[in-house]
Symmetry: C2
Subunit: 246 residues, 2 copies
């Protein structure tokens, strides 16, 4: 049985957008904090992993959003590692309201980076064993973000700022989400909410980079936006979001 | 006797910079959260004040920093309103470590904004009474930030982003702090820490504004930086920080 970990979380003012709902970037911050607390309980906190010469990095998020928590709401966040193979481990998060209704489900793919050469590395059993996840030889084929329609895409440039870099000397994951969503029109953002999203991270953004955030719109039965984060024409991250009106 | 309120706070990863210390902008977010929890205990939470037609705004911060808390540290934050007059109320925050050592002291000036005309308004007794602060007719003369040396100042431009605007349809205070500090050289930031700081807010920054962050350096016995946030040559905020080497 997988080791599961639960934590209560209050939604504070600084976690919310102008509509008093938790932002996607703060959701990711909060989830990774819960994940770290889970690891600490198993004596696999960041400092222990770093001493072994590794950092965890997140390669993919998939969000299913029933409702974003609102300001002052207290939610419960559950997390567990579901499965791993030699290169990846899969972790899920479930955010529930006070009546145990599921508000958000998030599937993530983690990989281990060697701090010295900043490359992905095979996951040693001493790192992963305490989580009691299932080992599977098979590497999952996860759905990818939809291609951006480059003909109709609009683009916005962002300089990497001092506080975008976190203690791992990375641009923090949550900053990519701000670049992705800020590139949308403000009135679109204020009148729509995310129902589903996939974000994949392909390449690190560096301190002195200027990133370009491209976005195009698409609709069938639903409304979608497709996104790319580029540095010098190279894709560093991609995303697709499905939206409904507020 | 003033009503005092205390709250424990864990310093999470997303609150820290690349040196694993709490950032000044997250400090401000966390303090305002504690202040709101204090108000809620006195039934003067944001929603109650808003129903009366008002919002609190912060006009000034003064920071005295002995040491910034680090990642995973648990601190205790105490806050109380010290004094008020017809236009302003003064609130202090003390951040202490687990051994009750004082890490940070922050003095703030709050004013009440009328939501309809977005102008400052006289503070009614029903708003302020529960805090049991002292009334004083005298309006304090607080020290102001030092003037920027415009001849040697360097400037950086920032567009207001979607997530910079908070639920009060303001640019959140913490964003000004990011503009102020990001305009400094990254190697200066990584090798120095703030010992003292004053920030004053003069005028709101609006959604579609592009702000200019100007900074100049100054030294006598200590090292200082002086800052302005401008929109179209009008000063919207000013700051001075005193630094020491890490």
């Amino acid at each position: 049985m997988n080791q599961s970990y639960k934590q209560k979380q209050s939604v504070t003012y600084y976690m919310c957008d102008r509509t008093q709902q938790l932002t996607l970037s703060m959701l990711v911050n909060v989830l990774l904090n819960v994940s770290e607390n889970h690891s600490a309980e198993l004596n696999r906190q960041e400092s222990v992993i770093r001493e072994m010469g590794f950092n965890w990095i997140v390669l993919r998020y998939e969000f299913v959003v029933t409702r974003m928590p609102h300001y002052k709401e207290e939610v419960e966040i559950e997390t567990f590692a579901t499965e791993y193979n030699k290169l990846f481990t899969y972790r899920e998060f479930i955010v529930r309201d006070n009546n145990q209704n599921e508000l958000i489900k998030v599937k993530t793919t983690f990989a281990l980076m060697n701090i010295e050469n900043r490359k992905m590395t095979r996951i040693p059993s001493e790192v992963i064993n305490p989580y009691q996840a299932d080992f599977s030889k098979r590497i999952r084929r996860n759905a990818k973000p939809h291609e951006v329609d480059l003909i109709q895409a609009v683009q916005t440039n962002y300089s990497v700022r001092y506080f975008d870099i976190d203690a791992n000397q990375h641009v923090n994951n949550s900053k990519y989400i701000e670049w992705l969503l800020d590139s949308l029109n403000a009135s679109f953002m204020a009148s729509h909410q995310i129902q589903h999203g996939i974000i994949t991270f392909d390449k690190e953004v560096k301190e002195d980079d200027t990133v370009t955030s491209k976005v195009s719109h698409r609709s069938d039965a639903h409304l979608y936006t497709d996104h790319q984060i580029l540095v010098d024409e190279t894709i560093h991250a991609s995303a697709s979001f499905q939206w409904n009106e507020r």
